[in-house]
């Protein structure tokens, strides 16, 4: 065996990558192809499906669910901006001012993951409840109108998604900022750059690979999320994920659901592609 391998060295990497690669082909690539073929079929569970190459399903699906698509895009963008506004200063602080607490702070950023995504979201539902201990107390004190509510509003859904994906933003930003030599920032201020100028001209451009990774890592799951809208929102916060989930698992409308999930995926791939082009020339790690 080892003699055989010595004579066929070029085959070794393929032996290493074939089991995992095959698994991904079988359970990632083929399901995607199946999804495409399901989207192009017509029929129902009762009468059976027939492949009719019904490409019209894509514009139809977009027209029918345009409101949910737009809302997902809008929520996704707002969440990306919010996670960046919260995550960047935090990652900056850990990287440049963390000192010996760096690792503990990083651990604290990922610790929420030790609790279920679903339990954390239910916990928020509980915290934000109309008569819960936060709003209820504020209402009892007369600081809020009795009718004021957060649950079942876009605010609750957006803050829920922001909470869930914030750690995804802090980590890549930290990695990028940690690599920056603080002497470069010092040099900028020595050369009479204001602190703001030093940040905008030195720190920010040097951390752009982290910004790229971070925005993608919050935008993708945010756009596709449906759990926050379901648990924290109402019918008027329905996102495209909720529609896909309902069509697949409740209505069993597989062609429509497949079309929607393909549109979502290709929308995301195309926006990442253009986003990368905008940042072209910068060093990107992904």
């Amino acid at each position: 065996m080892s003699d055989w391998l010595r004579h066929h060295r070029a085959l070794v990497p393929y032996l290493f990558l074939i089991p995992g690669g095959l698994f991904l082909v079988l359970f990632f690539v083929i399901p995607l192809i199946t999804t495409i073929s399901v989207a192009l079929q017509e029929g129902s569970l009762g009468t059976g499906y027939r492949l009719t190459f019904n490409f019209g399903i894509f514009p139809e699906a977009i027209a029918r669910w345009d409101e949910q698509f737009l809302r997902s895009l809008q929520f996704g963008l707002i969440v990306t901006v919010l996670t960046m506004l919260i995550g960047y200063p935090m990652a900056y602080t850990i990287a440049f001012r963390g000192g010996r607490y760096k690792n503990i702070l990083l651990l604290m950023v990922i610790m929420p993951f030790f609790t279920s995504f679903i339990i954390r979201t239910i916990s928020w539902k509980f915290i934000l409840a109309d008569q819960g201990f936060v709003l209820g107390t504020l209402k009892d004190l007369g600081w809020l109108e009795p009718g004021f509510r957060l649950l079942a509003t876009p605010v609750a859904v957006i803050s829920g998604i922001t909470y869930n994906f914030l750690p995804f933003v802090v980590l890549p930003l930290y990695v990028a900022l940690e690599r920056i030599d603080p002497r470069l920032i010092e040099a900028a201020t020595d050369l009479y750059a204001s602190r703001l100028q030093a940040f905008l001209r030195v720190t920010l451009p040097l951390s752009i690979s982290g910004v790229f990774a971070a925005t993608i890592l919050s935008f993708i799951p945010a756009v596709g999320d449906y759990l926050n809208a379901e648990l924290l929102g109402s019918r008027s916060e329905t996102m495209i994920g909720n529609v896909i989930q309902r069509l697949y698992l409740v209505n069993n409308d597989y062609p429509q659901a497949s079309a929607l999930s393909l549109i979502l995926m290709f929308g995301i791939v195309i926006s990442i592609f253009f986003y990368r082009r905008v940042l072209r020339g910068q060093e990107l790690t992904i």
């Binding site: 290493f16 991904l24 935090m90 001012r97 609790t115 409840a129």
Partner: protein, 282 residues
């Protein structure tokens, strides 16, 4: 570093307050990250009957004492989650580590398509991954159960394992392996005695990540589960009627176990680091 070293007492009050903004902000964000977890843990001690755990009624250890004898279906779902997480972690770590080794240590044709095949599952929203698997299982007539959930978890974990292991392998010194070969070790011995111990922390980190992602996964699991329930799916179903305090206790326990695991891992890494200088001296 240099910023932190500036002598504080020399700064005027305004500058000192400005310097405090970032740490205070960071502290607040940490508090925000922990708030729902704290609420979960506290309400596991709430003295209530049944599953309407909404207002504080008083302190009890009852739910900790009777953790496993109130809701048999909850226990079963937890066992399902642990089973899926264990199997998918072992398989995905093995498959992913092999790909990581191939990508970092060998030259071969087809590297770009392989990189794309690794990257795409990470860049695809979970709902699309789950929905496509559902489309596959439905159109091939495969019934959905624990096996399909496990397959789905292995699939999404492979990419994360590859990325984690690759980062570790990329950072290590190839000359250590060359030295071993120069000293007469054959390839297998070199791998066993030099390469594997060096990349082991990376493999362990990848396995921990895979386990955490699997045990917590909701979206992909919901699409591939059929009638089978995992812990997150049980909690989701329960949330429509009311989440019993036993769920809070289990959530707290999982959190504590993960915390202890991380602390042990950090301690091991520290030992690993302090051991490095002596092993490279020779």
């Amino acid at each position: 570093m240099t910023l932190a070293a500036a002598p504080r007492h020399q700064l005027p009050i305004g500058a000192r307050m400005r310097r405090a903004i970032l740490p205070v902000f960071t502290g607040l964000v940490v508090a925000y990250l922990f708030l729902p977890i704290l609420v979960m843990a506290v309400f596991g001690f709430n003295d209530i009957e049944g599953r309407f755990n909404f207002t504080w009624q008083g302190f009890t250890l009852d739910h900790w004492m009777n953790l496993f004898n109130r809701y048999p279906a909850l226990n079963e779902s937890l066992i399902n989650s642990l089973t899926v997480a264990a199997i998918s972690t072992v398989v995905a770590t093995a498959l992913g580590t092999l790909i990581g080794l191939a990508l970092t240590r060998y030259e071969f044709r087809g590297r770009d398509p392989l990189n794309l095949l690794i990257f795409l599952p990470i860049a695809t929203p979970e709902i699309v991954l789950g929905a496509s698997l559902l489309a596959l299982f439905v159109s091939t007539g495969v019934s959905r159960d624990l096996t399909t959930i496990t397959i789905a978890h292995i699939m999404f974990n492979i990419s994360f394992v590859v990325v984690t292991v690759r980062a570790r392998i990329a950072g290590f010194d190839r000359s250590l392996e060359e030295a071993a070969m120069d000293l007469g070790a054959d390839e297998w011995t070199t791998f066993r005695k030099v390469t594997f111990p060096l990349i082991f922390p990376g493999i362990l980190a990848a396995a921990l990540l895979a386990f955490a992602l699997s045990i917590d996964d909701f979206v992909i699991t919901q699409f591939t589960a059929g009638q089978t329930l995992t812990f997150p799916l049980w909690v989701y179903g329960a949330s429509r009627i009311g989440v019993p305090p036993q769920v809070n206790v289990m959530g707290t326990l999982i959190f504590l176990v993960a915390l202890v695991g991380i602390v042990i891992w950090v301690l091991l890494q520290r030992r690993d680091l302090s051991a490095t200088p002596t092993s490279t001296e020779h």
